[in-house]
């Protein structure tokens, strides 16, 4: 009895082993390519929107399995460096131009012009979104969506004070700000802290006045007369801002604006928060394009968010191409971006801008005029340091928040506009020398 039992057990073991080998062979013949995607849109609704599209892609493409790993903007720089150092970067990172540039300098980024060209030929990609990633003969990231600055204003207070909008010039903006600053309230909240947010505000008044950090030949032009004018104007706006703007963090500008302690702010198109404030009786709120002075032109800080690729394996590259092309299919693109946060993430192909899935979103429908405004702003949007062939020093300029520091020196009366542009230009030239 015991011997029969032992024989049966042995037979069972052998059958199990044969089955295991057979199944492994079957598994091996259908090799799945697993891709890891890092992005910095970590609030839960955005992660859910990503996951919905990813799940659909994974179902439709069982040979490719994409997994997202949300990060935060504050930790992405050191975390990415550590991952590269460990030889384990993600396959795809949704990045912004200066981060891609910093990574490209380490030599680990794969050019992706083939993917970009295919998306462009199929769906007509906005040129303004490709420019920040095209240099050294290649394109270093696949533009996925845009985020563009507009001016938000308190329509209710504007109407009450008889201020007309939209603004057609800097003078109109300044006059409004002066009129609104009274009784402990401020016309505008212009941050002067050392953050990317301040860089973005400052750049709004550079790009609209043809003030550039570099010219097309790479020479530093931050100390031009146009830049003196821009920073002199910024100085005036700071004068009519709350006194603690030098220590503002990201949340402060929205908090002051939505609680009606300031009446003008700049941000990406984020209708969600103003909508909530309107339900509490504040506002109503509106959006307009950033005005320009005489001799200037429309322009907005615009961030092209691009998919930076780190792998060089042909099989994985092919899988990445399939995934990115999928994300750019107009109806999928429209659904994905509008569900992440309606209005904040803008489609950047002409086809997606007309997709039914994008325009059928309730919030997008409600803010249709403002979204169209954002599209127009995206088409002529720019990013400081990336107007022409980007200079390697831009990583330092963005990392050190140089434009923010310049605003800080104006806000603390340490320098005049003439002095601060010279200081900034000299800083950049010194860094360029150090990098040689």
């Amino acid at each position: 009895m015991k011997k029969i039992f032992q024989k049966n057990l042995l037979l069972l073991l052998v059958i199990t082993m044969i089955l295991f080998v057979l199944l492994s062979e079957i598994g091996a013949s259908k090799e799945i390519v697993k891709l890891v995607l890092w992005h910095q849109e970590s609030p839960p609704p955005r992660v859910e929107a990503f996951q919905k599209i990813i799940d659909r892609f994974n179902t439709e493409h069982p040979e490719i399995q994409v997994k997202q790993a949300p990060q935060s903007w504050t930790e992405i720089y050191p975390k990415l460096y550590a991952a590269i150092e460990a030889g384990n970067p993600p396959d795809i990172l949704f990045s912004i131009p200066d981060l891609t540039m910093a990574m490209k300098l380490t030599g680990v980024v794969t050019p992706v012009e083939d993917i970009v060209n295919e998306i462009d030929s199929k769906y007509d990609l906005l040129d303004s979104q490709i420019v920040p990633y095209e240099y050294d003969g290649h394109i270093w990231a696949v533009p996925m969506y845009g985020m563009t600055y507009l001016l938000l204003f308190n329509k209710g207070v504007f109407d009450k004070e008889g201020i007309s909008y939209p603004f057609n010039s800097w003078n109109e903006l300044l006059d409004a700000v002066k009129k609104l600053t009274k009784n402990g309230k401020f016309g505008i909240g212009f941050p002067a802290s050392q953050l990317m947010m301040t860089d973005q505000y400052v750049y709004s008044y550079m790009v609209t006045n043809n003030c550039e950090i570099f010219d097309k030949d790479g020479n530093v032009t931050l100390d031009s007369q146009k830049c003196v004018e821009s920073f002199a104007f910024i100085d005036q706006l700071i004068d009519y801002s709350p006194p603690n703007v030098v220590t503002w963090s990201w949340g402060d500008r929205g908090m002051y604006f939505l609680s009606e302690n300031t009446y003008i702010m700049e941000d990406f198109l984020v209708p969600g928060d103003p909508m909530e404030a309107e339900k509490e009786g504040k506002g109503p709120f509106g959006f307009m394009r950033i005005p320009y002075p005489e001799g200037g032109k429309y322009g907005s800080p615009s961030y092209s968010n691009g998919a930076t690729v780190f792998t060089k394996d042909p099989t994985r590259l092919e899988a990445i191409k399939t995934f990115l092309l999928y994300l750019h299919e107009p109806e999928i693109n429209g659904e994905w971006l509008s569900n992440m946060y309606a209005g904040l993430y803008l489609p950047i192909t002409k086809a997606s801008m007309e997709s039914k899935s994008f325009w059928s979103n309730e919030i997008i429908k409600r803010y249709e005029d403002d979204v169209k405004l954002a599209f127009a702003a995206t088409e002529d949007g720019k990013l400081f340091g990336f107007e022409y062939t980007p200079q390697p020093v831009i990583g330092r300029i963005a990392g050190d928040n140089l434009l923010g520091q310049m605003a800080g020196k104006l806000a603390t009366n340490q320098m005049t506009a003439e002095e601060v542009v010279k200081w900034g230009a000299d800083k950049i030239r010194t860094w360029q020398e150090e990098m040689k």
Partner: protein, 307 residues
């Protein structure tokens, strides 16, 4: 024969004869030692490597750079010297203020009065409150337009306009010192109070009988009895404050316009904002040098005391 004897003696001199208990002890602490080597020793050696060699992340090419990164910091970076002086000011001011308020409150709490036990328990709250909460609350209270401090001062007529302690380059550093002191002086109070309660009452009585005033009793009885505790605190507070990062980083990030940038903030900026890892490593070693000097001074003072 002589050579053989010498060899045996040399072997005995350099051989480690451990008892069974000693071997067991080593075995038991070995995992901890390995862990310490991994999380302390290896990163420390790597920082030294980064301060002398250049290697881009992900690259296998290594270039020996010698002391160039130290040279750049010492002779080409104005912000280094400004941050160093600021670190000294930050450390000295905080330590002195924590000493002063810590001893003062301990003296008060030593008295017997109604509620003394309750206060002794709750005085520690600032120290145990998470630093993020402390900074956010103080930031709100000191907000010039929306904060309670300035609102109250305007209400009673003490203030016209804005005080803006956290937005004024002349006051921001001292304001941060005040907040940091507020957070840490209870720790000093508790330690000092604990020691004070151990001082024999007879000493004070005898001094009183001899006609010593309160101040004399404090200077000649209390302080000498507290010397050991105060020296220990001096060492800890100096090192902790010199290397502290969180208060300044959360409140101001080192701004505005670098007026609150101390050495730890500068290390963070160089490493994680501008990716100057080599300079950051060199700067970390300079900080390590200073903290080592502080420790050496303390040990010398401690040895002299024992002598």
């Amino acid at each position: 024969m002589v050579t053989e004897k010498l060899n045996i003696q040399t072997k005995r001199k350099f051989s480690i004869n451990l008892t069974k208990n000693e071997k067991l002890g080593l075995l038991l602490v070995a995992p901890l030692l390995i862990w310490l080597a991994l999380v302390l020793l290896y990163p420390f050696i790597y920082v030294i490597f980064l301060s002398l060699f250049k290697r881009d992340p992900g690259s296998s090419i290594i270039q020996f750079k010698g002391l160039i990164y130290f040279y750049n910091l010492l002779f080409r970076d104005d912000l280094f010297w400004q941050s160093l002086l600021r670190s000294f000011y930050w450390t000295a001011s905080n330590v002195i203020a924590q000493f002063f308020f810590g001893i003062l409150v301990a003296l008060l709490l030593r008295q017997k009065f109604r509620g003394a036990s309750f206060i002794r328990l709750w005085i520690i709250v600032p120290w145990i409150t998470p630093v993020v909460v402390v900074i956010l609350v103080w930031g709100w209270m000191l907000n010039p337009t929306l904060g309670i401090v300035e609102a109250l001062l305007r209400q009673v007529g003490f203030l016209q306009g804005y005080l803006n302690l956290l937005g004024n380059v002349k006051t921001i550093m001292n304001t941060l010192i005040g907040i940091h002191t507020w957070r840490f002086f209870p720790f000093v109070s508790i330690i000092v109070l604990g020691r004070m309660l151990g001082i024999p009452e007879e000493l004070y009585e005898a001094a009183k009988v001899d006609g010593a005033s309160n101040l004399q009793r404090f200077l000649h009885i209390t302080l000498p009895q507290l010397r050991g505790v105060l020296l220990t605190f001096l060492m800890l507070a100096t090192v902790w404050t010199f290397t502290s990062f969180d208060t300044i980083f959360i409140m101001t990030g080192g701004g505005p316009v670098d007026v609150t940038t101390t050495l730890p903030i500068l290390v963070y900026r160089k490493a994680f904002k501008t990716f100057q890892l080599n300079e950051a490593a060199a700067l970390s070693l300079i900080m390590f040098l200073f903290t080592s000097i502080f420790m050496a001074i303390y040990i010398k003072l401690g040895v002299e005391r024992d002598d």
